[in-house]
């Protein structure tokens, strides 16, 4: 191959309702590589023009997520597990692309970026296995003091807005999306503002992983601008504020109270940043689950058969 071949650039687009639209606003913003030496974003080479989503894009994404909720939450847990596993399979095959994108996005060496991508793929596998287990772990029969069958089952909360972490553009991103959809929720994801490219490329992977359109919707742009209409949106049931700073998180939590969204606050960190390689535990799964408890009389086996 000739050294002076002109490469083909990729147009990065949003991922909404299973399709790849540009922002309805027609806006884009420059995404640049993070330099490994100084670590300052925006000082590296130009990578791409990413769509700068508007509030209308955010609302369109909610519509898509709501439309997808019935089918996805109604799918069997086994089926959801296989889809999540399929995401891992697809990523494995496109590893090189993601290593390059993560290295650029986070200013990592190739080997460090490869470790991040490996961990992200493994995270999909971890959550793929959870889909049909969490119900037994957090639900079950309740031994009530009376002749009643009494069963508590976790159910997905609904449409969840996810503000992906700003620093960890891929492992962090996967770590906040996978648990939301593993349990049957659908998601509107706001990608890291400065490093949105791995997230936008993940959309292309999700689109080819048997994930129904609309289950995950990915928006790039200014976090505060996109998050505000999502936090106050009456058809959003929950919001994960991981990618918001303290001031924005407070503002969004206040807006979220209007329809009593379930809120996951940004993780408190003692200096430094969140360690996304740590064991994720189950709290991100349970944060977006509701417990439904069903009662029914057990009756008695008399001569007349069952009775209430």
């Amino acid at each position: 191959m000739s050294d002076n071949r002109l490469s083909v650039f990729k147009t990065y687009k949003l991922y909404v309702g299973g399709k790849f639209p540009r922002s309805e606003s027609g806006r884009v913003y420059e995404v640049t590589a993070k330099k490994s030496a100084t670590g300052e974003a925006g000082t590296g080479k130009w990578l791409a023009n990413a769509p700068q989503s508007s509030r209308k894009d955010a609302r369109d994404a909610v519509v898509a997520a709501r439309k997808a909720f019935g089918g996805w939450s109604g799918a069997t847990a086994y089926n959801r597990g296989q889809v999540l596993y399929r995401v891992a399979e697809m990523l494995e095959g496109r590893k090189e692309q993601f290593v390059r994108e993560v290295a650029d996005a986070e200013g990592l060496s190739k080997s460090k970026a490869a470790a991040v991508v490996d961990a992200a793929i493994d995270r999909w596998v971890w959550y793929a296995g959870w889909t049909d287990k969490i119900g037994q772990v957090v639900g079950g029969a309740n031994p009530v003091a009376g002749p009643f069958f009494n069963l508590s089952t976790p159910e997905p909360t609904g449409v969840v807005t996810v503000l992906a972490p700003q620093e960890s553009s891929f492992l962090g991103l996967v770590s906040v999306i996978a648990p939301v959809i593993a349990t049957g929720n659908t998601a509107v994801v706001v990608a890291s503002a400065d490093s949105p490219l791995p997230a936008l490329s993940l959309g292309e992977v999700l689109a080819t992983s048997d994930l129904p359109g609309g289950v995950v919707n990915i928006l790039s742009g200014n976090t505060a601008e996109i998050a505000a209409p999502l936090a106050s949106h009456q058809d959003v049931n929950a919001i994960d504020l991981t990618g918001a700073d303290a001031a924005l998180a407070k503002e969004l939590e206040i807006a979220a109270a209007d329809n009593l969204k379930r809120v996951v606050r940004p993780q408190p960190v003692d200096g430094g940043s969140v360690d996304w390689t740590a064991d994720p535990g189950t709290h991100r799964l349970t944060a977006f689950l509701e417990t439904k408890t069903v009662w029914h009389p057990t009756g008695a086996l008399g001569a007349s058969g069952s009775s209430y």
Binding site: P143, S152, N237, A249, I254, A257, L260, T291, T293, W295
Partner: protein, 479 residues
């Protein structure tokens, strides 16, 4: 209805309870006056008789109580779980011993029938403490990781509809997990919480572990806002719940909210009508309908609507409304003049918007706050009485043709606390229960509660669960 079967009065004796003319705040193991010396009167809703004069907590008292709870937290949380368990078992047993006294007290202060306080409230209160007592030394095995830690000081604000039961739901899991509490009972029903303070004294509970602050909304707001409170637990209206959610935004406070509801009680055409009627009555007229999980929207399949409504009206005509201390009484007094005014206004709105009102024929006592069991037909989903929580003995009747329509109508609400399903077909129960966006679904029964069974809402009915293993999570540092 003038009946051939008149009931002779069968009043429970008031003499089992000795209500003092005045009560203080319970802070750090002592009864004390409010810092500003304010007091308020608590009245019996069935007679408007003043029962007692109670100290009214203000912000300064909240601060004092939170400090006492903070001080007590260190030792209380460090106690072996097995020791905390024994305190809670003691409390459970003392409640059982004093349950007649407490039932009469609760009926006097709240206005609900003695049959309910005696047979529902008090047994559930004791059971709740007994249940969570057993968890105190088993937290390692509760599924929240090894050695889960308490949060600290819990600020708890409870409503007037089940005063002592809501106290139990709040205090029992908080103490079992090693937290200390400051609890504000509702201003119209402070007495049973103050009697509970005496039970804590009898049980030898360390000072400051439980603090009781009778007062109004301002005291509740001060408690929620207090910066040394780690956990807020609230049961009450959705409007106040939203205000609390805003108040704690940006803090580290954990919150659980158990709020309003507009429960759908769905009756299919194959349901046994008589049993469904009993379930509808239990669903909306238990505790005068002042129940957040009340089945306040009846959804009846069109083909059986007339038959069901005839039976229901016949049954409602036999309900006995009157002296809550009478053991024959089915329907007691509305808790307050304010609540009665709210119910009255919403019922008038129902008529004004075109729904058809029917009230059970019964004589209302001349003093006290009373509202006859009432149902509305010709109700559409757009009507205020089909959307707003009335929190009174008022049932809105809507009809449906298909199960899909029933589910769509049931879910057409900002709330998602409870729902009922009446049908003989098992697969239909499961299919419908699966589609209902509600935290508690009662199939062929209604308004059943148990300390082992998680309770709480979807959507704007709040978040978090009370009861069962799930109820521990709200008081443990897990995330």
């Amino acid at each position: 209805m003038a009946s051939a079967f008149e009931y002779a009065p069968a009043p429970e004796s008031r003499s089992v309870v000795d209500i003092a003319p005045s009560y203080g705040l319970f802070i750090d193991g002592e009864f004390t006056e409010a810092a500003d010396g304010k007091v308020f009167k608590t009245v019996s809703p069935s007679t408007e008789e003043v029962l007692s004069e109670v100290a009214q907590a203000g912000a300064a008292d909240v601060d004092r109580a939170v400090k006492a709870a903070r001080k007590a937290f260190e030792k209380w949380s460090a106690l072996p779980g097995s020791e905390r368990a024994k305190y809670l078992f003691r409390i459970a047993r003392i409640i059982q011993e004093r349950s007649r006294e407490l039932a009469v007290l609760e009926t006097l202060d709240n206005g609900k029938p003695i049959r309910e306080t005696r047979d529902a409230d008090l047994p559930l209160v004791a059971a709740h403490f007994f249940y969570y007592a057993g968890w105190a030394d088993k937290l390692d095995h509760a599924g929240y990781g090894a050695n889960p830690r308490p949060l600290g000081v819990a600020g708890q604000v409870i409503p007037w509809n089940f005063p002592l039961l809501m106290l139990a739901w709040k205090i029992a899991p908080a103490l079992a997990t090693g937290n200390t509490v400051v609890l504000k009972p509702a201003e119209t029903t402070p007495l049973s919480a103050l009697f509970f303070a005496d039970i804590c004294r009898q049980a030898g509970l360390p000072k400051g572990v439980v603090n009781i602050l009778p007062g109004y909304g301002d005291a509740g707001a001060a408690l929620v806002a207090h910066e040394d409170v780690n956990k807020v637990a609230f049961t009450g209206s959705t409007a106040v719940g939203k205000a609390i959610a805003r108040q704690v935004a940006g803090t580290d406070k954990r919150v659980t909210l158990e709020l309003g509801g507009k429960g759908a009680n769905i009756v299919f055409d194959d349901a046994p009508i008589d049993q469904a009627v009993e379930g509808i009555v239990t669903g909306i007229f238990f505790n005068q309908g002042q129940v957040c999980c009340a089945g306040s929207r009846l959804l009846v399949q069109e083909s059986v609507q007339d038959e069901l409504l005839d039976s229901l009206k016949r049954r409602l005509s036999t309900l006995r409304l009157g002296d809550p201390l009478d053991k024959n009484t089915d329907i007691g007094a509305i808790n307050s003049a304010e609540q009665l005014a709210r119910i009255t206004a919403l019922a008038e709105t129902g008529e004004a918007e075109g729904a058809e009102r029917w009230s059970a024929p019964c004589d209302l006592p001349s003093s006290g706050y009373w509202f006859a069991p009432t149902l509305f037909t010709n109700v559409t989903q757009a009507h205020t009485i089909a959307r707003d929580e009335i929190f009174g003995p008022v049932l809105s009747v809507l009809s449906f043709r298909t199960p899909d329509e029933a589910v769509a109508k049931a879910n057409n609400s900002q709330y998602g606390l409870s729902a009922g399903i009446w049908t003989e077909k098992g697969s239909r129960i499961l299919a419908v229960a699966n589609k209902l966006r509600a935290g508690v679904v009662w199939a062929n029964t209604f308004n059943k509660f148990d300390p082992t069974s998680p309770f709480g809402g979807y959507k704007e009915s709040g978040f978090g669960r009370e009861g069962g293993r799930h109820g521990l999570e709200a008081y443990l540092d897990v995330r």
